[in-house]
Amino acid sequence: MLATGVTAIVLGQRRSPPIIPIYMLCLLLSVAGCANAGAYLIADNPAPSMMTLPIGLPWIGAHFALDGLAAFFLIVVNLGGAAASLFALGYGRHESDPQRVLPFFPLFLAGMNLVCVAADAFSFLLAWEFMSLTSWALVMVHHRDAANRKAGYVYIVMASFGTLALLLAFGFMAGPDGAYAFSAMRAHAHSPAITALVLVLALIGAGSKAGLVPLHVWLPLAHPAAPSHVSALMSGVMTKVAIYGFVRMTFDLLGTPPWWAGLVVLGLGGITAVLGVLHALMEHDLKRLLAYHTVENIGIIFIGIGLAMAFQANAMKAAAALALTAALFHVFNHSLFKSLLFFGSGAVHAATGERDMGQLGGLGRVMPLTSFVFLVGCVAISALPPLNGFVSEWLTFQAILLSPDLTQFALTVLVPAVGALLALSAALAAACFVKAYGVTFLGRPRSDAAANAHETDRFSLAAMFVLAALCLFAGILPGFVIDALSPATIELLGARMPIQEHVPWLSIVPIAESRSSYNGLLVFLFVTASALLAAWLIHRFASKELRRAPAWDCGFPDPSPATQYTSESFAQPIRHVFGGIAFGAREAVDMPSPGDLRPARLTVTLHDHAWEWIYNPLAHLVYAIADRLNYLQFLTIRRYLSLVFGVLVLLLAILASWPI
């Protein structure tokens, strides 16, 4: 079995200090993993391969299985891993203390691989929590910064909270006699009550890892805190492993989910998508912005999953297959472009030492290649054709359009609303990345660091270009990806989308030609062709001379770059529109009286409802109880004795009144 191989070798290798060999090794192993899983998916009628090791929980052993779903997620994991390793070959040199990164990076990869192949509750949870632990260690790499320590703390607590939720869920599915093997759980039929509980717990567990609102609070803290290649892994890959856990539990282990589960997941997904992107719009820290975007994309994926659940509950297999394919496709896409974008931010960070967009700007001229691939990533994540982000959202829309056939009224009311939310989040994402790219790479540099930046190293560029190429490929030839996803959907739903590879012109047809179809390749060709045509015509028959001149700017050329729009000012109109609802945003203008020379100030306060309504109260509660109980630490011996005495008398009284 591959992943165990990864673990073994990784464990063997981990202690050696030098950077190159470790990342090389990770790269090779990840590529091998990709190849293996890919081979499994390509193979016609693949048979799931099982394996049991005599480790882990005694009298059960550790089961591992490789099936379609696992194989697909293995590809996602190892693709991300390979890219991250490649990137780290260059980026790792900038690391201040690599010996805090090197041991855990391979272990982190191994943990994620293990989660995907684990086939019994114990090894699943072990790998899951191991993944959390190693990633926590990676978050704590730059531990001298108090903010990072807080991030690590919030992260590890949320992670173990999620793990405990999953643990309870598995405990339910395994039953009192402890049938922890997935095969046993599948065979076991679960009562509705148990199914409901398990679903809720699984949603909490996986959601807290994936960053589902309101369990997302750790994510924008922890992801930026880690080194960029790790952030890419956490954001692009680890959240996907969480998705894997959810899909595995709901579709595979529980069997057909009830329709209301689809309702819940849909609603949460929609809210998550919009809130995530709104938060991202308000951010001015590049990596935090990307992290919040992960929240948004998780929402989109959960919308797809929710649709699939709803369809499955109504026995609309084809539709369910479409929805699930859309979700998984988006998983794939997001792992690609989110890694790409985090790499980009890492490159920027390495070149300028800045993450605050307020200090950046104009990098497009000093780092042309980076800015180009970053642009590709932005277009992809903004769901614009002809790149891959659009395809998965398009598929999701197609799935939504099938949902009027759902029988439950609640669903038929909710689904269009979710569709609106999805569209809204897509549009906002575009706005957000106009902001991110425009403020960071365009305009004039806002600091010397930005002005004197320089292009990053070859490895980093290579990693980013590979990912960009993959984004383009998945965007213009989505048919192949969809076909590669079919084994998973067949296993989980017993249905698949129509085979795409025979469709003429390589276009994709979700249900029927007459209904809807999309051909990324042609659109791409048309756009490039007509753009080139226009350029050629104009340069051929009309002028092509060009003159550089100072910016006109309506005749008010401003010397200082500070007059450019910053990320805050860019987001201001959108904050006006949504801020009131989403953040309870308040603006306070402090305008000096005439003749007063002090500058006017505009202060904006945003609130994160999740923190203010859930987490801070909880923390306060815990501390309050802790304070109350703490008195017990400083009692006199007599009082302690009276405690003992009280318990004794209480027990005796109970005994005296015990019915025989």
């Binding site: 009298w59 590890i156 607590v157 643990l167 339910f172 009192p176 109880i625 318990v647 027990l651 005994l655």
Partner: protein
């Protein structure tokens, strides 16, 4: 007494059992005599090692139960664990105590005393584990208590003496209650078993537990649970535990957390078995579950406001004891197995943590959490050792406690979902507190002085290695053995 043995117990096994008792007793006497503290430390470790060998010998052959001593699967687990941790701790204490002498916290006289007491403690614990006679068991535990009281107070600081005094008073009351319970058990057995020593022999009690007077047994169990529960450190009987851990020498904290709590727990388990075997008596399970949950949640919250690192981990011991008692209270093969595993893992991990903490406090010259920062930078081995230890004790994979907590929670949830909720909450709260402190201690910008650490890392690494192995792979024989014990406890 020896006469009784030779007549009752098969020679070879008798030797093994005898050795377990004689070695520490003899070496205790010897150590009182030895002047040079280095030699005495070496002797101490050597004796502990011999004791470990003797304990392992019990695996080979177990003698038939005698009037006073008996060996069964249950107490073999405890004995081997005890002698193992006792041995490693003696290794650790050798270097630790030497350092204490250098910085002048202890005098040579006290050192002699210390080593002798150490062996005496081992002897007392071994005796109470091996005792087949509940009166003997009681005596042994009283002896162990008194020894540890003296050890806790050995620094003669104001806090140390107060802690020792508190421990002494509460301990004496506990002892008294336990004795009353023991008498009640005897009275319960009197009508059926008849007068004389037979009515105090555990095996005899077990064999006709069904016919003992239930009401009397209930009464007895309450007293025993409270009496020995004080030693286990169950809230609200725990008051002595944190101070005793915090103020005593660190090796003693390790022994207290790692061993003495288990010994008391063993006593409770014995009587639980008697009670469980009696149809008329109340089920002991709910009582233990309640106490366990209470201790778990209470300790979890108490962790937040701690200022002293050793007190912190003392409370985490209470927390773990709560989980263990909860597991045994739940009963059933899975939960019992989990309880045993958790107990073993806790002993190993917690003593390892105390080793680390002791070295840390020696390196930094303080136990105050507020003054410990960024240890992974200044003392990489200690810092990361602490990280690993805390991760293990907090139930993180791939360490053994994860396995046991997995079993406890999942099996509980499958049977009593409502019980699992507070359990999980308690675990989570405690986890949060431990992690919070760990972040401050192990990470961040270092401060304060840094003395080099001379004591050896071997015990710590050994324990953590074992815990790690248990988390990934439990050897088959061990599993079979634990399962058998779990069945027996069922």
């Amino acid at each position: 007494m020896t006469a009784a043995f030779n007549s009752l117990i098969h020679p070879f096994a008798a030797n093994a059992v005898m050795l377990i008792l004689v070695i520490p007793a003899a070496s205790a006497a010897l150590l009182f005599a030895v002047r040079d503290y280095r030699r005495s430390a070496r002797l101490n470790a050597f004796a502990a090692f011999l004791m470990l060998l003797a304990a392992l010998a019990l695996l080979v052959e177990q003698p038939p139960p005698g009037d006073y001593l008996h060996v069964d699967d249950l107490n073999i687990v405890f004995i081997i664990l005890n002698s193992l941790v006792g041995f490693t701790t003696s290794l650790f204490s050798a270097s630790y105590i030497a350092h204490e002498l250098e910085i002048g916290r202890l005098t040579r006289a006290q050192l002699r005393f210390y080593h002798a007491m150490y062996q005496l403690l081992l002897f007392a614990m071994a005796l109470s584990l091996l005792a087949n006679n509940i009166g003997l068991m009681w005596v042994a535990i009283e002896l162990a208590t008194l020894t540890t009281v003296v050890m806790v107070g050995i620094y003669r600081t104001h806090e140390a003496l107060e802690a020792a005094w508190k421990y002494f008073i509460l301990g004496s009351v506990g002892i008294a209650l336990a004795l009353f319970g023991t008498i009640l058990v005897y009275l319960a057995a009197l009508p059926t078993v008849g007068e004389g020593a037979a009515a105090m022999i555990w095996t005899v009690l077990m064999s006709n537990a069904g016919r003992l007077d239930p009401a009397m047994l209930n009464l007895a169990f309450i007293f025993l649970l409270l009496g020995y529960g004080t030693k286990v450190g169950l809230a609200p009987l725990h008051a002595w535990l944190p101070d005793a851990h915090a103020e005593g020498p660190t090796p003693i904290s390790a022994v207290l957390s790692g061993l003495l709590l288990n010994v008391a727990l063993h006593a409770v388990l014995r009587f639980k078995l008697v009670l469980a075997a009696n149809p008329g008596a109340i089920a002991p399970g709910p009582l233990m579950v309640t106490l366990g949950l209470g201790s778990l949640i209470f300790a979890a919250f108490m962790l937040y406001r701690r200022r002293d690192i050793k007190r912190l981990f003392a409370y985490s011991s209470i927390e773990n004891m709560g989980i263990i008692v909860f597991a045994f209270g739940m009963g059933g093969p899975l939960a019992n197995f989990a309880g045993l595993l958790q107990m073993t893992m806790h002993s190993l991990t917690k003593s390892a943590i105390f080793f680390t903490v002791g070295q840390i406090s020696q390196a930094k010259g303080t136990q105050r959490l507020a003054e410990l920062h960024g240890l992974t930078l200044t003392q990489p081995v200690l810092g990361w050792g602490l990280v690993v230890g805390v991760a293990a004790i907090a139930g993180m994979p791939p360490f053994g406690i994860f396995t046991s907590e997995f079993l406890v929670v999942s099996s509980t949830f499958a049977r009593q979902p409502l019980l699992a909720i507070p359990l999980v909450i308690g675990m989570l709260v405690g986890f949060g507190a431990l992690m919070l402190r760990l972040h401050d201690v192990a990470f961040g910008n270092p401060g304060g002085p840094d003395h080099p650490v001379k004591s050896s890392y071997i015990p710590m690494t050994l324990h953590l290695g074992l815990v790690l192995m248990a988390g990934i792979y439990l050897p088959g024989p061990l599993v079979v053995w634990f399962q058998h014990v779990a069945e027996m406890l069922h």
